[in-house]
Amino acid sequence: MKKINVSICTGTTCYLMGGAHLLTFDEVLDPVTAEHVEISGAHCLGLCGSEAHGKAPFVKVDDHIIADATLMKVLDKVRDLMPEED
């Protein structure tokens, strides 16, 4: 099964602006969703440099960039991308 990659930016800006709290993402996952997700910390994704991307902290869920990320925003995106039950 291909897992959904949740990449939490741990560049200093993102970490300070809330990324440090997003590292607790595993805690908000139910066991079924958790099966489909792999969580990783990422070096600066380079998104904070330009205001066009929005505000830090940033999280990438597969190819989708989430700006001003919160645990719930990330969870919603993961659920969007989860395959329909077979």
Partner: protein
Amino acid sequence: MHDNKANRLRKEILIRTARAFFTEEPNDTLNRIPLQMRPKGGEASRCCIYKDRAVLKYRCMAALGFGVESETDELKPVSDYYEEALAREKPVEPLLTVIDVACSACVTTRYRATDACRGCLARSCESVCPKDAIEFYKGQARLNPEKCVNCGLCMKACPYHAIIRIPIPCEEACPVGAITKDENTGREVIDHEKCIYCGKCLRECPFAAITDLSQMVDVLNATRTGKAVAMLAPSIAGQLPGTLPQLFTALKQLGFSDVVEVAEGADKTALHEGAEWAEKIAEGERFMTTSCCPAYIESVDKHLPEMAPFVSDTPTPMAYTAADVREKNPAAITVFIGPCLAKRREAARNPDVDYVLTFEELGAMLVGAAIDVLECEETPITATAHREGRGFAASGGVTEAVKVVAPGNAALQPIQVDGIDWKTMVQMRTWATKSCPGNFVEVMSCAGGCLAGPGTISAPRVAKKQLNDLQEKSPSLQG
């Protein structure tokens, strides 16, 4: 510290202020912060962008170390405050202050009947109310604020849970009743005679209306002298990305001439405190409390004089560390970096400590200087901080350390105050005046210890894990 929009806003101000310092035109950059954060045509979080901008200006002032009350001319631009901040030789008197225009003046009546009221036949609310404050309007209960005394009996009596209690978050959080409403404006005011600088009101206010006065610009200025020495509190673990040796490099890039760990001072505190405890108990004292938490020390000074004889005389980890830095380098500008606001009070009384920064402020400085900790090389750490000293960062850590070093530790009966609130204040008074169930009392103002302090960046669980990892790699004082 919580992660919510109010807190992110506070940090954004710090970042923008620090970033301005590193630009060619700091004055202009600073003056534009309110405009950039609330641009024309953008969304407002209060009534309009103009009010938002006015509040943001006060936030910038606080980031430069100026309270609302220091404003004499509303036209004075942020850049003028900046110039003054650069020119001052001593840090401002530490204070928690309310940005009055940001305070939403939460309602005073704490109980309210909601639409869930069915206007039932029983009307238990009406019968239990001792003040006859329940009135009925269009078949539903209402509380008359003129009569209501906030006893809460109606809330307990209602079978529909139709009566709710609306707390005032800052007042609720304050363990010592130091924050109350101004009767005329309804806005909150801090009584500095009572305030213990624990920072709980600042953390809990949903409008981010409470602020402390930052020394960040003073420190940024000091880093240009080549004499500034950073003293990192044991609770640094997990507060910034990367490893501790990477952070050392980041701090040097920022301009600190040297970086030391306060965990080394904590080792000394542990050794001294263990010996002091054994001595005092042998002399017949009932118990001894720790002395490293400055919000607790403020509490004793202002609210628990009965406790004063039981407080340990051992210097704090910050005091040991700063004295050591000064001895080796008398010209050093010493900067304590930690999770704590009350440390600013302790520093104001200790000539060895020049400035105090929070981890949030340090993070903002790194971001402002465009230093990414994860990209830094590792600076080898030559000094040895022990497992016990590092442990001071979490509740139970001081107790652990004293257990390890105290002679005859079999007789140690430790108890903990894990978080100062109004209940533990009452409890401590009883221990001092009547009897205490232990003979060694560890007091931490923040539940969880320093790693849950008001100036932290990380989630306490993440920080605790990193602290444990670091402790495991460190030698023990036991040898």
